[in-house]
């Protein structure tokens, strides 16, 4: 009995979620959908790099998504939000995708807000007053430590992450 109820309720959840707050995403590498937000749980489906998903919710390092007819949990870092495809490399994605998918009203809305640009930075004149203001705001180590303690933060021993396998020789300055 229960076995039937779960898919039905999951389906209903998807339908309501899709209309309310599901957002599109793209899978960044070949991955698995788990039944729970932990890699020890049952694998519901495999999803291929580039597959489209609907993001339903987030919990810690996991996103609950639907991919095709499957729903499950996938690692947060294996999905990019937005409908821009699996890669961001290349101008095509940064500029091209936006023009095809963007909501014109949104672009107009932000066009008035001019961002920082190269020229602003290049022309910038040293501002001693602002620098003094910045330096006056410096806090001490013991202030930072007691601030952390107030909310129960404590140092945790976390090993560093490995460097990636070199995919291509990185540019050294000899061949610049």
């Amino acid at each position: 009995m229960k076995k039937f109820l779960i898919p039905v309720s999951a389906f209903l959840l998807c339908v309501s979620a899709a209309s309310a707050w599901a957002s599109p995403g793209t899978v960044l590498r070949n991955e698995q959908l788990f039944s729970q937000p932990t890699s020890g749980s049952r694998v519901e489906a495999n999803v291929a790099k580039g597959a489209s998903v609907n993001i339903l919710s987030k919990q810690g390092g996991w996103l609950r998504v639907t991919a095709g007819r499957s729903t499950g949990w996938i690692r947060l870092l294996s999905v990019r939000a937005g409908a821009g495809g699996s890669g961001g490399s290349g101008v095509g994605d940064v500029f091209g995708a936006a023009t095809t998918r963007s909501d014109p009203s949104r672009v107009v809305a932000v066009a008035g807000l001019r961002g920082l640009n190269d020229e602003d930075l290049k022309q910038a004149k040293f501002n001693a007053g602002e620098l003094a203001r910045l330096e006056a705001g410096t806090v001490t180590t013991s202030q930072a430590q007691s601030f952390a303690k107030q909310s129960g933060l404590a140092s945790v021993n976390v090993p560093g992450l490995p460097e990636p396998r070199p995919a291509q020789p990185s540019s050294s300055w000899e061949n610049n």
Binding site: A98, N127, A128
Partner: protein
């Protein structure tokens, strides 16, 4: 001309002190002295080279000593001392603040300094005074300068939902400082700036010698780092945030948010010019993290997150 000098400088630095290196050194030295003499009137009096600045130089001692070390020595040879790092960071920061001032909200600035210093403590870098500032612009970006100067924009701060996300962003920037990413860029390009190309800044407190090193204004912040440096800062930065006890998914969540922004948004144009696309950063981070951080339970601290006015 610039290119030729650059090539000469690179050749000099690449040779490890054999006869050929010496010849190149001679050549370079002559050209440099020519260039520096041209600008003598606009240069401040030569200060002695900072201590330890030439310690790791590989070229013949005779060459490096004849080159005006106060102008160039510490840029071309050896490593920067902590004092030099700080001096460079200070000048870049003063310029950046000339382009965009701090948000006038002392509570916000103090909050960001407290979170930032707590995260920076996990980096274990001794003798560094860390400065954090929120810049008064709707642009979405964050910056780091050598020596421990870190900035994020109000536009980016507004998009954050909790303290763990702030810690993740600051962790990325702190990693740029601890990994000395900008100094590596400076070493590649220092000769160009050192030849007196930089517009002279008469502002009080401005350090002309460092300005010559970094080029015009804060343009070094618009040039960006190579993408591997950004991927590394993501990898190192989330570990700093995790060591500080924060939820490790703060930075990835911010990257998710940015990936979903319309790419034509003016507020992210500089960010996209100087950083890999958030989708590429997520993918690279995903490869590095995989299941390694699964067991770590950190705090998000949404309640304590300072609400911007």
């Amino acid at each position: 001309m610039k290119t030729r000098l650059m090539v000469l400088a690179i050749s000099l630095a690449s040779f490890s002190g054999v006869a050929m290196g010496f010849d190149f050194g001679k050549l370079l030295e002559d050209r440099l002295n020519q260039e520096l003499n041209k600008d003598k009137k606009t240069q401040p009096a030569t200060t002695p080279p900072p201590a330890g600045s030439q310690s790791a130089a590989a070229s013949p001692p005779a060459t490096k000593q004849k080159v005006d070390a106060g102008q160039l020595g510490f840029a071309l040879f050896g490593d920067y001392s902590p004092e030099e790092e700080n001096r460079i960071g200070k000048q870049i920061s003063g310029n950046l603040l000339g382009a965009v001032p701090l948000v006038r909200d002392d509570g916000l600035q103090r909050y960001v300094n407290l979170v930032g210093n707590w995260v920076a403590l996990q980096a274990g870098r001794k003798n560094t005074t860390w400065h954090f500032g929120v810049l008064d612009t709707e642009d979405i970006n964050a910056f780091a300068a050598p020596g421990g100067y870190i900035f994020l924009t109000k536009g980016l701060y507004r998009r954050l939902n909790n303290e763990a996300e702030l810690a993740g962003v600051l962790g990325h920037e702190i990693a740029h400082v601890t990994q000395r990413h900008h100094l590596k860029v400076l070493k590649k390009s220092s000769l160009i700036g050192a030849l007196g190309q930089a517009a002279s800044s008469k502002a009080q407190g401005s350090d002309q010698m460092v300005q010559n090193l970094i080029g015009n204004g804060a343009e070094i912040m618009a040039r960006g780092l190579d993408k591997d440096a950004e991927f590394e800062a993501d990898r190192v930065g989330i570990v700093f945030a995790a060591r500080a006890g924060y939820d490790v998914w703060g930075l990835p969540t911010v990257l998710q948010d940015m990936a979903a922004l319309p790419a034509k948004d003016n507020r992210t144009s500089l960010l996209y010019k100087t950083h890999p696309h958030p989708a590429d950063r997520l993918a690279a981070l995903g490869e590095a993290v995989d299941g390694r951080l699964d067991g770590i339970q950190g705090k998000e601290l949404a309640n304590r997150f300072y609400k911007i006015r």
